[in-house]
């Protein structure tokens, strides 16, 4: 069965094959916009990696992130203190922005994604009524679509590195255990975004009911 749709980049009518071979990219023939990517077992991978991402995020939030030493002075910060310190200096907008872009948005993206994927995976366990099943994932899907461009965990990581290079000559800086878990979190999160594209999400949800 082939599915008719239009390319979101240039509006060309195309027919999507139902099965995309592993590690191939499906592009629009006219504007070369990537439509979806083939994967062996995208649902299980996405589910597993999003759960580990959530654990890693909690881990990153609960231990020290960076430490700084200069002239006998020592300071350790946790990830959330980047927000807290801005808040205490009365830069409320910046505090909110940093908190949303690096912690709240990715966390809510993962949670929303799981509320879709878990019922799809364990259909038999969750025998939902037909009416709620039809409305609920669509609403979440729309939120996922809106959230995706505002997740800046990778940008934050580069920010950390630039900050370190900036301070290299002034002080000795070292990474805490949270930093490393945040690095893995960012890598895994990119993989989640890479795996669970719009086409695949809708494919899963449509098969669900």
């Amino acid at each position: 069965m082939e599915k008719k749709t239009a390319c979101s980049g240039c509006d060309l009518l195309i027919e999507l094959p139902n099965k995309v071979p592993f590690s191939t990219k499906l592009c629009c023939p006219r504007c070369h916009h990537t439509l979806t990517r083939g994967h062996k077992n995208a649902l299980d991978y996405t589910l597993a990696i999003s759960i580990s991402c959530l654990f890693l995020l909690v881990f990153s939030l609960s231990f020290n992130f960076l430490s700084f030493e200069s002239n006998g002075q020592f300071r350790e910060i946790m990830l959330f203190e980047t927000t807290l310190e801005l808040y205490q200096k009365k830069f409320y907008f910046l505090a909110l922005l940093v908190c949303l872009l690096t912690i709240v948005f990715p966390a809510s993206y993962l949670l929303l994604l799981l509320t879709i994927l878990v019922p799809v995976k364990f259909q038999t366990l969750f025998s939902r009524s037909q009416t709620t099943a039809a409305k609920h994932p669509i609403y979440i899907m729309r939120m996922l679509n809106r959230l995706a461009p505002w997740i800046m965990v990778d940008v934050f990581l580069i920010g950390v590195l630039v900050a370190l290079i900036k301070m290299w000559s002034l002080a000795t800086l070292s990474f805490g255990i949270s930093f490393w878990s945040y690095v893995i979190f960012v890598l895994m999160f990119s993989y989640v975004l890479y795996c669970a594209d719009q086409q695949k999400l809708f494919h899963w949800v449509r098969n669900d009911h």
Binding site: T5, C10, D11, L12, H32, T82, K89
Partner: protein, 205 residues
């Protein structure tokens, strides 16, 4: 009003595609029959919205460069640094790599993004024929690099949290950090409201 849609497009055969769920709908419908999202053949007032948001971001770009982005207090002496003075400081110290990273993230990317969006809008609204492939690529790059300008704001946030050594050395954010983050948000919204399908509705050169 006669609007011509590109050959082979959904709009040309009176179908509108939902941006969220990729469902094809009858062009007469206002909401997607599958997910209920508002749909239209082309984003209404796409160019106007894009330019309005871009103009707003340009307004905020002025204080972002004039005001200090970071205030460093070392032993009671306060040093205010703007984006440009920060880069010059690193050049003086010989830290060319850091200077280059900051220069690209906070000056080259925002400016080239603004120019790219203006160029796309000019191309779409002019009566001349355009090059599809190049402009589509330009739009894709513009959308991709959008969020990377936020690096500067994050650097300030991290330094503010990290460098608090009693009265010895304290870093606090400046006004430019706020306006710069607004610039990034507005240019991202501007790029998002541009409808790339408009590019393909125009004749190929």
């Amino acid at each position: 009003m006669t609007i011509k849609y590109s050959q082979g497009s959904a709009a040309a055969s009176d179908l509108s595609c939902c941006k969220i769920c990729a469902q094809l709908n009858d062009a007469a419908l206002v909401k997607c029959q599958y997910c209920g999202e508002n749909i239209s053949l082309r984003t209404p007032f796409s160019i106007q919205k894009t330019l309005a948001l871009l103009l707003a971001s340009m307004v905020f770009y002025v204080p972002a460069n004039l005001y200090p982005i970071m205030n460093t207090t070392v032993l009671g002496a306060q040093v205010e640094s703007t984006i440009l003075s920060g880069i010059l400081l690193f050049l003086d110290e010989g830290a060319y790599f850091v200077a280059a990273v900051i220069f690209i993230a906070s000056i080259v990317i925002p400016l080239s993004k603004m120019l790219a969006i203006i160029w796309l809008c000019i191309c779409v609204s002019s009566s001349k024929s355009i090059k599809h492939q190049e402009l589509t690529k330009l739009y894709a790059v513009t959308e991709f690099i959008g969020k990377w300008s936020m690096v500067d704001v994050f650097v300030v946030a991290i330094l503010v949290a990290l460098i608090q050594v009693g009265n010895l050395m304290v870093i606090s954010p400046g006004l430019a950090a706020i306006s710069f983050s607004i610039v990034v948000i507005l240019t991202m919204l501007s790029a998002q409201s541009f409808d790339s399908r408009l590019l393909w509705d125009k004749a190929e050169r």
